[in-house]
Structures are given as structure tokens and as C-alpha cells.
Point group: C2
Chain length 345, copies 2
């Protein structure tokens, strides 16, 4: 338990992830003295009540909002974070950021604590949280990588709309109801209708015809595993699910890997649950694991065509894993470092 | 155009695929003299009106129903087809079957006409139609295989509920409406709720922990490509989409394959449409291609991690491709053979 208390700000406090950040900070007894909720002019002045029943008034984000703050949990999108990063730095606070703004910067640690918490100590004022599809994948891969070197990973994602924000969730609700009623709906959260449809595009397209989302997963996984040589490719698809991301993953190892040992490793990995009893139709589905903290893995089986490879199915609550929960966990590790520095002085 | 006319029966005429078989037979001017719609006792006596406006009375399926019939288009499930296969044979009719009952039998040709119509002539009374995920895949692969030998294929499917029948479509409608209304719904079409969820299980599990659906795709693809050595693996997932199946596919070739040439080949493949302009967000989605005959391919790009591989996204109307349309196409090829035999006599 931390001996110090820290002044904390949540930037983007009214969004999907921001709301969950508040709940998790309280539920996990994050050692805060002051807790400031910051949002855009549209939301400033509103009152937010946490799931623990505490009320907070949302304050306006501006350059002076960070005075006296020690740690900022940000989930406000890349452009907003970039806009305020300098002010946060000037205030002497550490920014733990959910956006893609700084993730691939060489001097910014990109961290899933269970995978590479040792990278946190190299921070220079900013620590980045990975993409919400990357975090569960890298947790599952890292557990195996210690014993079986991974050669190649082929990922197809099935990503829920909550990753695109509250408006996207509302659009899925409203447009689904209209579709069931045989009515047209003007869609705006996505480039195509999402109700009872699939959209194989998340974020914008890059020059190589991959989407930014796909390249995030590819590059962030390599960075966190410290494996520039890892062969990893991805197709990212938006599906009409509210919360939780799923991934169909083919993992090829350098050498043949024993399936029983792989299952044994995953059974003993912290914050990962192997839910895999085909004979009882036990495997994770997004609806069932929403609201849960661990990463769930099921459908683990030898690749029938390659003795060095396996197939599996990974599901996690995207608002927690790779977003709010991972941010708070980074904060908890940071606090341990800050505490120890204070003790040493 | 056929010079002969044939007596045709549709077995399982009241199902999703059966209804479409009737429409396609009429729309494509299939050369039938008599057309008999057969179904279970529950449906016998009902009147069905085709999209062309013609009415038919559904007749009861029994051992004597096939007397005088030349060709049977069956979409009644594996157990029903097995039950009547002998009666169909005794009547001297050729059975073109949509179920999995006979697909892997050594003496039953498994056919997508654009891929292996030459196999039809080897039939011994039964010709099988592949699984609805296999047909579009094998069409796309075959086009490339002629020029670039394929080594390995990794498939993740996103399959609509219509593949599981009309009741499954109703369950998606009703349970989605209830979910939007925050009400519980007893599900029975699938082993888990499908509304706003994903189910990584289609059909039953086999001893190797693959589902029967996954092994169908794997084995049927090898059979139709005449490539027992093809390395192909699959994870099959049910998604909350009404019609059309999608697949995220990684294809590895024996040698480096030029992406421009691959796109050129697919651009010139009959019954396949390359819909791939990322800069205009042009790629196929199930909602947009439902009701269309071709197989659609998009998101074609070099595998960033492997110069010999590509990624792509294949979408097709599962009630047409790999079901009703493919069955009628097999029938059209069969008629050509039957016509030529008649002429030669």
C-alpha cells in the first residue's frame, strides 16, 4: 500500500473510459489526495457520480488546470492529449495516456504492467497505454514467449463499438432498433452502417493499405515485447457488439510447442483466464466477459496444418484491458516508484 | 440453352435456401418440365409463391415422392438427405445436395462449377455442394493457384445467422429487440446468446477441438483444389449479422507473389468482384453485398511481415454462394452433360 498520496487528474472524464477510470480509481483505492475531473467546455460544470456514490464536478480543461497535479490519467483522444502534454509537463505531473499520440515515441514507455513494467522507470514525463486490441494480445503472447520463442502471429480482430466512444454505442443501439423496424438510419459514427453488419476498417487507411488500427496492433506488440523481428500481421474488423474485443489468433513458434504446456502456462498466468472446455461449450464470448478484469483465452488447439503453430480465441473488456484498467495499473506501478524515491530521500 | 427439359424436385423447399432455390430456378430459366416442391409434414399442403409470382403447393416428402424426377436439388439437412438418398437413386434421379452428408465421400464430386466443374462427370448419382464458407474461399484461391502455388492459408470467419436457418434469423431479430429493451431472452438457436455477441463455435466440436464447421472448410477446400498437401487452418465464428459470410484470410504462396498481379487476376475472375479502394472506403461488407451473386474481395494487401503472403477480406451471400446459387449452377452444368448424352444417342 502506498504511503504517499498523490493529486490526480482524469482528462476526458466524461467518456466511456473516463467514467470507468473514476470508478476503478475509487474501487482499487488508488492513493489520491485530490481528484480532479477534466473535460471539454461542453461537459464542464456537470456533476458526475461514481459507482461508489461520490459526486464530482467536472472542471474545464485548460493550460492552468494541471497546477499542483502529480499524475494525469488521460483518455481524451490524441489531439487533446497532444494539446495539453506541455502544460502537464510544466506542472511537473506524469501523464499516463490512453491515446495513440505518443505510443511509438522512442522516449515514451508503452506499458502493460504484467508484460513490461520495468519500462516504466525510463519515462520522461509520459507513459503510454497501448491500443485496446494490443493489450490482451501482448499479455497472452508474453506468457508464452518466456518459454517458446514466437516466430509469426496472424491476427483477425472482432472489435466492439465502445472502442469508438459513447456516440458509437448509441448509434449501434438506435440503428439496430431502426433496422429491426425496417427503417433507414443516417449513420455517422462509422463510415458504413454497423447494425447487423461488419466494417473491415478501424481508423484511417495508411499508405500501405493497412488501417492505422492494424498498424498500431502490429507496432505496439513489437515494442512491448522488445521484438522488432517478430513477424506479426493483422486485419481489424468492427463488429456489432457493444463492449469487449475478440481476436482470432494463429501463433507460430520457432520450434514445436507442446499444447499441454501452453495451456499449463496460460492457466498460471496472472490476470489471464484459460476458459477452454469445448465439450461443455466453454469459451469466452464478449457478452459474457464484459465488466470482468482478466483477459480470457479459449479455443486453444494445435494448428492442424502446422505442428509449430496453434490457434486461439482471445476476448477482453476493451474499456478495462488496454484502457481504464491498464491505465490505473500503470499508475499503481508508478506510485510504487515514486514512493520508493520519497523513502530514499 | 438446354434442348431438353427435366423434371425437378426441390427437397427442403420451405427453408432459407429452398425458397431461394425456387426463385433462382425460375429467374435463371432452368430447363424444367415439372417442378415439385417437397418438405416435411409440417409444411406439406402449404402454398409457396415465387418472386416471379408463380404459386406451388408444397408436397410431402416420402420414399415415393421422387418417381419420374430427373434432378433433385436438396437443402434439407444431412439426416433428411441421407434418409431419402436411396429413394432418389432408385428413381433414377441425380441428387445435388447442399448438406454435409456426402461431401467427403470419395465417389461424390464436391463442386463449385467455376473451380472444378470437370469433377461433375464422375458422379454416381450424387453431387455435393460445399459448405457456404468454403465456396467463396475456394473460388478466390483457385483463381490465384493457377499462377502462384499456394502453401498455407489461415482463415478466420465471420458467419451470419442465416447459415443456421430461418429460426436462427428470427432469434437474432427477437433477441436483439429484447436486448435493446433490456429484457432477457431464452435462446435456443445457438448455444449462447447471439444478440450483440459473437459465438466462436459453429456446429459441434470434434475430437481435435476443432468444430465440424472448421474441419468442413479445411477438408472441402483441399478436396476441391485437389490439394491434399495444402496447409490450411480455420477458426469459425458466428456473428450477429443476418445474411452473408465474411472471412479474413492470410494466404502464403510458395514464392513471392506480386500484389499487382494478384489484383489483376482477381479483377479478371468470373463471378468474383475485386472491391478494393481503401482511399474511398470501398471494400465489401455483408449488408451491402447481400442479394448479390458474385464473391466480393477487398482489403487486399501484402502481408507486412511476410513477402510471400497477402491478407484479404472475402464476403459473399451465403444463401447464394455455397448454397442455392451454387446448387443451380451445378444443375446447369449437369444439364449440359445430360443434353450432350441425349444428342449422342
Amino acid at each position: 500500500m502506498s504511503q504517499q498520496k498523490y493529486n490526480l487528474a482524469i482528462l476526458g472524464a466524461t467518456g466511456n473510459v473516463g467514467r470507468l477510470l473514476l470508478d476503478l480509481v475509487e474501487q482499487r483505492n488508488f492513493p489520491f489526495a485530490q481528484l480532479k475531473l477534466l473535460a471539454s467546455p461542453n461537459s464542464a460544470g456537470k456533476t458526475i457520480t461514481s459507482s461508489q456514490g461520490n459526486s464530482y464536478t467536472v472542471e474545464l480543461t485548460d493550460e492552468n488546470a494541471f497546477a499542483g497535479i502529480d499524475i494525469v490519467f488521460a483518455s481524451a483522444g490524441a489531439s487533446t492529449t497532444k494539446k495539453y502534454a506541455e502544460s502537464i509537463k510544466k506542472a511537473g505531473a506524469v501523464l499516463i495516456d490512453n491515446s495513440s499520440a505518443f505510443r511509438m515515441d522512442a522516449d515514451v514507455p508503452l506499458v502493460v504492467p504484467q508484460v513490461n513494467k520495468e519500462d516504466i522507470k525510463n519515462h520522461k514525463g509520459i507513459i503510454a497505454n497501448p491500443n485496446c486490441s494490443t493489450a490482451p494480445l501482448v499479455l497472452a503472447l508474453k506468457a508464452l514467449e518466456k518459454q517458446f520463442k514466437i516466430k509469426r502471429v496472424v491476427v483477425s480482430t472482432y472489435q466492439s463499438v465502445s472502442g469508438a466512444g459513447k456516440e458509437a454505442m448509441e448509434e449501434l443501439s438506435i440503428s439496430s432498433a431502426k433496422a429491426l423496424d425496417n427503417k433507414e438510419h443516417d449513420y455517422k459514427a462509422f463510415v458504413k452502417p454497423i447494425a447487423f453488419n461488419l466494417i473491415p476498417q478501424i481508423d484511417v487507411f495508411l499508405e500501405n493499405d493497412y488501417t492505422k488500427e492494424e498498424m498500431k496492433l502490429i507496432n505496439e506488440t513489437k515494442k512491448m515485447l522488445h521484438r522488432d523481428d517478430l513477424e506479426i500481421t493483422c486485419t481489424a474488423v468492427r463488429v456489432p457488439v457493444f463492449i469487449s474485443h475478440s481476436e482470432s489468433v494463429n501463433i507460430e513458434f520457432e520450434k514445436e510447442a507442446d499444447l499441454a504446456v501452453i495451456k499449463e502456462i496460460w492457466s498460471n498466468t496472472d490476470d489471464l483466464i484459460l476458459l477452454d472446455k469445448p465439450e461443455e461449450s466453454l469459451y469466452p464470448t464478449p457478452l459474457e466477459i464484459t465488466g470482468k478484469d482478466p483477459v480470457y483465452v479459449g479455443r486453444v488447439r494445435q494448428d492442424n496444418s502446422n505442428p509449430k503453430a496453434i490457434n486461439c480465441w482471445i476476448v477482453s473488456d476493451n474499456l478495462r484491458i488496454g484502457a481504464a484498467l491498464n491505465t490505473v495499473r500503470i499508475g499503481e506501478e508508478l506510485v510504487k516508484i515514486l514512493d520508493s524515491k520519497t523513502c530514499n530521500i
